[in-house]
């Protein structure tokens, strides 16, 4: 396969009955094996962009689309979502609405069964993936009787079980506890590193995106206004604040320290992760401690 997972060319999209477009002239290429984070304010078009990546736009959602979308070598206009879904997995943002089956185990088995995998293999996938999201033991529970976070875990497991080449996650951690959130990031990173799964993730948890993603896209009113590595994107604090995007706490700290002339940091090299931040600060603090000692 070629090394390009996904390509949008001049894509503009209007939802049915609307005059303002939800996406405007989007040009985007994502390489196989990239981990891309998407951030933006409410209504910026993040979900819509996800729906473009598996053919829901325009097939299921209707409306009008201009431009061309190629996913996994398939022109989405000439295919169906069901067909694309064999390679592209999508976790929706609403945890409850995306559960289709009555029992937890059946929910996970549903996708692999649609792919026609052998029955024994499916049973194994169900077990593995429920364990991965820590829902093992709840196989026979009714999906409607799960807590909000448990439902979201189930939705993630159901898509992971299909072992997609391109994994799209729309706010997958909104209801997860802090460890669960961290684990989702770790799990997709592992898939990304070991299986070269392409990951596209819409998130508000910028602190974790900064730590795990290779590349950040910032959406504003249907346009991609920033695109680059986390350090480069998140250090543009003013620009991000203007479009209603939070910056990682560490970044905010360093910009503030620089602003108040406590510690000088170049905008371009502003730390965005705890790891990097603590190393930087440790250097500065160590100097003071040493100076004091000598």
């Amino acid at each position: 396969m070629d090394s390009q997972a996904l390509k949008l060319k001049d894509v503009t999209y209007w939802y049915p009955g609307t005059e303002k477009c939800a996406l405007e002239k989007i040009n985007l290429e994502i390489k196989t094996g990239e981990f891309v984070g998407i951030v933006g304010a409410n209504g910026a078009g993040r979900s819509t962009l996800c729906y473009c990546m598996n053919g829901l736009v325009p097939h299921s959602l209707g409306g009008k689309m201009e431009g061309e979308i190629i996913v996994h070598g398939i022109d989405t206009a000439k295919s169906t979502t069901a067909e694309i879904a064999q390679w592209v997995g999508l976790v929706f943002s609403d945890p409850e609405a995306q559960l289709t089956q009555l029992l937890v185990a059946d929910e996970v088995a549903f996708g692999p069964a649609n792919l026609g995998l052998p029955r024994e293999k499916i049973a194994q996938l169900v077990q593995e993936n429920l364990k991965l999201v820590q829902l093992d033991g709840l196989e026979e529970r009714n999906t409607h009787s799960l807590s909000g976070g448990q439902q979201q875990r189930l939705a993630i497991a159901s898509v992971l079980a299909m072992n997609p080449d391109i994994l799209i996650l729309d706010e997958p951690t909104s209801n997860l506890d802090p460890r669960g959130t961290y684990e989702v990031f770790s799990i997709v990173t592992k898939l990304n590193r070991e299986n070269h799964t392409t990951v596209v993730m819409v998130e508000y948890q910028v602190d974790l995106l900064a730590e795990f993603a290779d590349r950040i896209l910032v959406l504003d009113h249907g346009n991609i206004i920033l695109d680059g590595p986390p350090g480069e994107v998140f250090s543009q604090v003013d620009k991000l604040s203007a479009v209603g995007v939070q910056v990682p706490q560490v970044t905010k700290l360093f910009r503030q320290l620089d602003h108040e002339a406590v510690v000088h940091v170049d905008q371009a090299t502003t730390p965005v992760t705890v790891e990097k931040g603590s190393t930087e600060l440790a250097k500065v603090l160590k100097k003071t401690v040493d100076a004091r000692l000598s």
């Binding site: 409410n42 009714n142 807590s147 909000g148 706490q249 108040e260 705890v274 600060l281 440790a282 401690v289």
Partner: protein
């Protein structure tokens, strides 16, 4: 990694509770499916408090707060709201004191427009029409809902729906407002609105209980945290105290906010591990460099 040098160790945590608003005694809740969601819970919420309930998925947070206004009834134990037993008082009556915002806003919105949604509760309180309109107007301004007034709540995004749900309860002016996961799907601007709302309610002497997984939001807004794990309460105290209790954090699948993590990593250089937000960290760094 927990060092002993927390210099700004505040005095023993005392909830600012002149009067008890909600008192939970020996509460057990078993769902019809047999799941034991709460075991032997004893806790109270005072007047004028900002309380966060946090803990792992499925630990019983939602189940607990649904008892505060009688949406769920205890299998064992009692809940008193201003001294009234929730078993003997109807939800509709409790609703005047306790406002509850559901985790899933879809469970909460049922009117045909956003404006109607805001009026619904006020009408049930039998307020005079001009007072209703006044309150609706104030709420709209605070929550910046002007653009959505005449749209159907279902056509809004999840985040906006949640905001409308919170607004509809806020308008009723309850003594205690319970927010179940208020920050899910909320961007920077909406979180700022939420901060404002919480601040305003607290200023006017009311109490706010919020269930949340967003640790930086919790650190920013709560004075007291209750940590739940596997149907039990495992911690009840202040946030700086919580974030250095590695045992509790592990047990309840929690992680401190990134800024706190950063401060803890630098404790060898004299930085306090009890930092809760960026502003505090800035002054810590200043102090250490001075």
């Amino acid at each position: 990694m927990i060092s002993n040098n927390h210099k700004n160790n505040k005095s023993q945590f005392i909830p600012d509770a002149a009067r008890t608003l909600v008192q939970v005694k020996d509460l057990v809740h078993v769902y019809p499916t047999g799941t034991r969601a709460l075991e032997n819970i004893n806790v109270s919420v005072g007047e004028h408090e900002k309380l966060a309930i946090i803990g792992q998925n499925g630990s019983g947070k939602t189940t607990l707060v649904k008892h505060f206004n009688g949406l769920l009834q205890p299998t064992e134990g009692t809940i008193l709201v201003h001294g009234a037993d929730t078993r003997k008082t109807r939800t509709a009556v409790l609703a005047k004191t306790v406002g509850y915002v559901f985790q899933n806003p879809n469970h909460q919105l049922f009117c045909v427009t956003v404006a109607e949604e805001l009026r619904f509760g006020l009408r049930n309180l039998r307020l005079p029409p001009d007072e209703i309109e006044q309150k609706v107007k104030e709420t709209i301004e605070l929550f910046k809902l002007q653009p959505y007034l005449d749209v159907h709540p279902y056509s809004l995004s999840m985040g906006a729906r949640k905001l409308v749900a919170i607004a509809s309860i806020f308008a009723m002016g309850p003594q205690l407002m319970i927010l179940d996961e208020p920050t899910t799907g909320q961007d920077y601007e909406s979180k700022k609105i939420l901060s404002q709302v919480i601040g305003m309610m607290y200023e006017s002497g009311k109490s706010i209980v919020f269930v949340s997984h967003d640790m930086s939001f919790v650190a920013e807004h709560a004075d007291r945290a209750i940590v739940m794990s596997r149907a039990h309460i495992v911690f009840d105290g202040s946030l700086p105290d919580l974030f250095i209790r590695q045992d509790v954090l592990n047990e309840a699948d929690l992680r401190p906010p990134h800024i706190t993590q950063l401060s803890q990593r630098l404790s060898d250089y004299g930085v306090s591990p009890r930092v809760l937000n960026v502003a505090e960290m800035v002054s810590e760094v200043r102090r250490c460099l001075a």
